[in-house]
Subunit: 258 residues, 2 copies
């Protein structure tokens, strides 16, 4: 009975998942990884994921920890789980989860409570015609965007603010809606642009509402001055639309104690 | 009663289709486009596709013609069909077909019989670890490939030959298994390589078996000299494996009369 605490780093293509969180009768990332753990060990483990990504949201580096008396050596866990998750690769539901890393962590470590920052990437494709091969992986915008204005807008969303205007209803009631966005880098990519956004934490749908609002800045529907007013209004009704889940990637979770 | 003949150029992501050809109770590209035509016009039309691509095979430019007394102006057909095919874009089965072009063609034109050549692209990703975002779109090879040997091999597969060794059972019995491969260009891409293959026609699974065999050349399991013997043997058992459908794209159909 040697209890261990294991931290998994997980990449997934969110296209065919009903999000991260386990739900009865629905295909979720947490559900699939827990199922693989049960197939591997014959026992049930409950994952604590860092972020409950919504349906359609992708991850390059979601993290999740679980505790238990797992008999499989942790050093073998990555390959063993990937072998199980990879079954049916050529079937209509190919493997869309990849365990990138599995490591033992101190018993008091928790993937959610010990996360000090998260980096998301949001990808926008600009094109008059759709690219069906990109449909699940980008926010497709049909009109040209003013990148200079969007950069200005991004600066307004950086820093420590009450981000209540950029929070969807339906999330957990948080005590505080103040968060810090450390960086919000706009990078040109072949298809259009990608924003790399790092913050100490994000409200429910914050990244998607910030991005939808920034797209409206790029379309010149909202000026950077307006954006500042929107931010300070703390009024969701004033902010822009919620950008689609397809463009969002949980890229990296930053921990203090690892 | 003005009969028209219409040629569609169609792109699709083959991942979630049971191939091109209409089948009862299975989702196929032909079936979806015919359904969209029926929704649009209230009448049934039967598409003649140029190539019956297999399950999982993609297309940048499949072509299909249909004849009939279609009342919708052909100039509106592209947008009208895309609007229908695009419904449910944000659902779990988003639109994975895009009509790139619709045009009227002479009444005696047929998308299959008037095709004089086809260009396929086959994409290979080389990487020690899988990239889940690429799983449906590349042949993932885990070991390094000798590109120089593969280029040599490609030359052996170019030209006019009896390609019987590279034909799967289960295709139509063809009178002749002689085909001409005009070009077989290997191009470096970010993920690995892409072969652009143009020929006057291809036997059943010919491109995939040629590619699987070329990968074995790259892995040094088959030498270029062996490849020549395999080609001339006309014996499927001597050739390499059939490369997976995920890497294959029908890129372009070439017509004589358009």
């Amino acid at each position: 009975m040697a209890e261990k605490n294991v931290l998994l780093t997980i990449a997934y293509d969110g296209s065919a998942f009903n999000g991260w969180q386990r739900q009865p009768d629905l295909r979720t990332v947490q559900g699939e990884v827990e199922k693989a753990l049960e197939i591997l060990t014959g026992e049930t483990f409950s994952l604590n994921g860092t972020s409950r990504t919504d349906r359609g949201v992708h991850a390059y580096g979601q993290t999740a920890s679980f505790r238990g008396d797992i008999k499989v050596p942790v050093v073998n866990l990555k390959d063993a789980l990937n072998n199980i998750l990879g079954t049916g690769r050529k079937s209509m539901v190919p493997s869309d989860i990849f365990i990138k890393d599995a490591r033992e962590v101190p018993l008091d470590f928790h993937a959610r409570f010990n996360a000090v920052a998260k980096t998301y990437i949001y990808k926008i494709r600009i094109g008059k015609e759709p690219d069906i091969f990109k449909r699940n992986y980008f926010y497709e915008v049909r009109y040209p965007l003013d990148l200079k204005l969007m950069k200005e807008g991004a600066l307004i969303l950086m820093g420590t603010h009450d981000f209540k205007a950029f929070q969807s209803a339906g999330g957990e009631e948080k005590e505080s809606t103040v968060r810090t966005v450390y960086t919000m880098d706009m990078r040109r990519i072949r298809e259009g642009m990608a924003f790399h956004i790092t913050g100490d934490g994000f409200l429910y749908n914050q990244v998607r509402i910030m991005m939808g609002t920034l797209v409206e800045v790029g379309l010149k529907k909202i000026s950077p001055e307006n954006l500042k007013e929107i931010r300070d209004s703390k009024d969701r009704a004033k902010a822009g639309h919620k950008a689609p889940s397809e463009g969002l990637y949980l890229a990296k979770v930053h921990f203090s104690m690892l």
